[in-house]
Assembly symmetry: C2
Homo-oligomer: 209 residues x 2
DNA sequence: GTCTATAGTTCGATAGAC
DNA sequence: GTCTATCGAACTATAGAC
């Protein structure tokens, strides 16, 4: 898998360091990736890296921050770009969530799995970004519940379940020409709506719980 | 969080080594956990560990194997203990999946996150267990689709989404007296059925996709 | 089955030349 | 901004006494 970062994050050698670090962190994990291995992948010697980042942890911190910032920014653009209907909002938020995760799979994996290797202060900065994104999603769910288009019970568990779907996607999804990120995003958005919509006891057959 | 392993896996010092390793691997990851740290947690010196396990990797291999074996065995018991109705089967499989994951949260986290630190041969043994469990779940979904009680389209994505819900549960779920593992298992089982059941285009409002 | 002592390697990071 | 050389610490694992 080829490492990828959202555009405009950095340039030149610094960008190559981030990309190779992303690839190595995703494959071996942060503690198992040596500074020497990163340098070799970039094509320089280890001390040269310290001209661009003061420590190895700063490289991870940058990557993890980019990952969480990308998701939050995408959520904010999404919610700003769709109307007040909670069903549309959830559909578009789930689509965005899936697209971000499978467009930058290694970034999503590292941002989530290696976050806890950051110092508590740096991790807290990142978790604040994550909570803002979670709030956007939860708010849409709550508005839908208030309007009666969503089942108000189990909203926390359901929101967590929907988020889990997107978080796990980079671990298994391999796009093909016939079934790419857009198809998965559409499928997951539909699943999310089914999960949130009140069961209809008046339907033929059983009505669900 | 207190580390926990399914009963009957080992005894005495070996068991304490596994439990403390589980706790440390979950908190810091396998590569960042030193043999000295495990020994200190157990209350012995590092060389003593080598009387019980030939290498550090063997400790991880045992833990990862226990985790996957526990899920597979639970799936086999579950499918053997419920009737031929695919809806009941999926409901019980999801309930089992959630209960196993949140009853042994650290075990589930380490078994999934640290698997790739095993040698290819040892990882392959574990992945074989995982695939047998996945087959059990996929078979139930396929039978439901054949009988028309489940939506046959998007079965792969839907199965992956349902599995994602259970895999992620240990990372966020904190049981309370009012809402414990059984409640989450019931809620997720209901979500899974909603995801799998064909949408009813004749319902009032939109019919979905 | 525990210990002390240590071999042999690799680690993150720095000094200083160019 | 890259290099060579290296420091001091930490690592997994072993040897051998008890």
């Amino acid at each position: 898998m080829d490492p990828r970062l959202p555009d405009g994050t950095s340039t030149g050698t610094e960008s190559r360091i981030l990309l190779e670090s992303l690839r190595l962190f995703a494959h071996h994990g942060y503690p198992a990736t040596s500074v020497r291995a990163i340098a070799a992948a970039v094509g320089v010697k280890a001390p040269s890296l310290y001209e661009h980042f003061p420590t190895k942890e700063h490289i991870l911190a940058r990557i993890v921050h980019i990952g969480h910032q990308a998701l939050l920014a995408s959520f904010e653009r999404t919610i700003a770009g769709c109307g007040p209907d909670p069903v549309s909002q959830v559909r578009e938020l789930v689509r965005t969530d899936v697209l971000v995760h499978v467009t930058y799979p290694l970034l999503a994996i590292v941002a989530n799995d290696e976050l806890h290797h950051l110092s508590p202060a740096r991790a807290a900065d990142v978790l604040a970004l994550r909570e803002r994104a979670e709030q956007i999603a939860l708010d849409a769910g709550r508005r839908g519940a208030e309007q009666g288009v969503f089942d108000g019970t189990e909203l926390v568990a359901t929101t967590a379940a929907i988020a889990s779907m997107g978080v796990r996607a980079p671990y298994w999804f391999i796009p093909t020409p016939a079934y790419g990120p857009a198809e998965l995003a559409d499928a997951y958005a539909e699943l999310a709506i089914r999960m949130l919509r009140p069961s209809s006891p008046h339907r033929d057959g059983r009505g669900g719980g």
